[in-house]
């Protein structure tokens, strides 16, 4: 018995949604056919780690140090989405200036110059900026009337979440509460977009050295330091899946070569495993384990 195609919820407005009697869904009808509801990373080894790719209707975080491959992965995903069975445009929200357009162009396949037409870019410089952009994205996804040649947006990338919270917040209890409340507002909005429009949502995050007050947050060794994703355990509660990019330096300092790993820190559907990877000019690719 082959399950019916996944039922995509209608893009009803929240007010009419709440007026209707709540209706349960049958999980059997939500069984993903991984060909259509996961976004491949463009590498069979990394896809194997993720059981087929990045899931739709879910928020995946990629955390790591600077130059660990986070932005590279996002650019790669934006270019893969139109070509994949997902057949989607992407919305790329960036908080660091400027948007890396040159890198995107260099990554784009020369045989498909139109691919860049399916990457929508917007800048967000503060949490309120981002919430405003997400509200506009909600309207855009609900009414995609214009641009009939553009593929539907089914990939949302946010690079990075930590940058949004650099300024404007101090360590007072009131500000910590305000900041934390914003985490949950942003997460709820991202998750609603992911669910209602069956989007793959990817958020990058920076890392900080482990401090005493961060009990319960993810910890990993990278570059000889104990690191945790930024924004603490509050933000860790806001993502469904956390991927940690780590680096292991061999030899002495800069003369040694680095090995990179993508680790599943947590996910509701994946075992906690890892895959070695390299960053090449043409993208991020997994490395076959040594025999």
């Amino acid at each position: 018995m082959r399950p019916p195609a996944p039922k995509v919820p209608s893009a009803a407005s929240s007010s009419s949604h709440s007026q209707r009697e709540p209706r349960p869904e049958n999980p059997l009808l939500l069984l993903p056919s991984s060909r259509f509801t996961k976004l491949s990373l463009g590498c069979p080894l990394l896809d194997r780690l993720l059981c087929g790719g990045l899931p739709a209707a879910s928020v995946t975080e990629i955390a790591g140090e600077s130059a660990s491959g986070k932005t590279q992965l996002c650019l790669q995903l934006a270019l893969l989405a139109p070509l994949s069975p997902l057949s989607a445009s992407s919305l790329f929200l960036h908080s660091d200036l400027p948007f890396p357009l040159h890198r995107l162009r260099r990554l784009a396949p020369k045989s498909r110059p139109d691919i860049l037409d399916h990457v929508l870019v917007a800048a967000a410089h503060s949490p309120t900026d981002l919430l405003s952009l997400l509200a506009r994205a909600q309207r855009l996804l609900a009414n995609p009337g214009r641009s009939p040649h553009r593929l539907p947006i089914r990939l949302i990338l946010l690079d990075s979440i930590a940058s949004l919270f650099r300024g404007d917040f101090d360590a007072s209890p009131a500000d910590l509460r305000r900041r934390s409340a914003l985490f949950f507002q942003i997460s709820a909005k991202l998750k609603e977009l992911a669910y209602r429009h069956q989007c793959v949502v990817v958020v990058t995050n920076q890392v900080v050295d482990v401090v005493e007050g961060d009990a319960g947050n993810t910890v990993a060794w990278s570059s000889g330091r104990r690191l945790s994703p930024a924004l603490g355990i509050a933000w860790a509660n806001c993502v469904n899946t956390r991927l940690f990019l780590t680096r292991e330096v061999e030899g002495n300092g800069t003369s040694g070569s680095a090995r990179r790993w993508m680790k599943v820190a947590f996910a509701p559907h994946l075992p906690e495993q890892s895959c070695e990877f390299v960053i090449r000019r043409d993208g991020v690719f997994g490395v076959e384990p040594e025999r």
């Binding site: 929240s14 709540p22 939500l30 305000r178 709820a188 355990i233 906690e272």
Partner: protein, 294 residues
Amino acid sequence: MGDQSGSRNGPQQKYVSGAQNAWDMFSDELSQKHITTGSGDLNDILGGGIHCKEVTEIGGVPGVGKTQLGIQLAINVQIPVECGGLGGKAVYIDTEGSFMVERVYQIAEGCIRDILEHFPHSHEKSSSVQKQLQPERFLADIYYFRICSYTEQIAVINYMEKFLREHKDVRIVIIDSVTFHFRQDFEDLALRTRVLSGLSLKLMKIAKTYNLAVVLLNQVTTKFTEGSFQLTLALGDSWSHSCTNRLILHWNGNERYAHLDKSPSLPVASAPYAVTGKGIRDAVSSNHKRARVT
């Protein structure tokens, strides 16, 4: 064969012949009202499993296995009566989007494999049991509500009484997680407390009225007390006092542990458990354990 069959049908024979005394009947009835977690050690500290007619809160840090346990319970509640289960259905209210159907399928497969291992002749029994032991059936018997805001959460919980009146075979209601949408900027904190209290009363009521288990998964936050940071359940002061039982999932080094922190009838206790490819199991099991990556 006759003897084997006879011994396997022992409880039924006792019922039929009327040989079972009242105490045994009472014990059997009580045991039928527990939902196994999949881990014997965890069941032991819970007095047999998750209890019907009670609200149980399960808290823990991200990645420790709260959703895994929630899914496992939604599957285990469906174990057929003939195989020692409740044969009920589940309501799963998902506020975070962590209910991944492919994982639910894996856990259902693992549960069925264990049933067939412990009850080797289940497939030879009545056709209804045979039909029940399919992962697709386990998935279809979960009523899944995905909510995206606290107003939707209030609406679903308000609707539960009517829903359960029309679906009398539901034996567990799981909310994963119960506080996520209430951790956003709530302008009126007193209103939030009143809303949460109202929800908890409704949940306690449906647990008792419809003889089902209510399981509330909760997030963990840090609180600065007595000069150091402590992990505590989210919105604890305005929420946790309403739960009958509280179970804290935590890491002890690289091992997962569950600590029974609050219960009216059981002692405070801890037990190890594991998240395996098949779902929640004992930590010492030979299954491939999901070791924590460090």
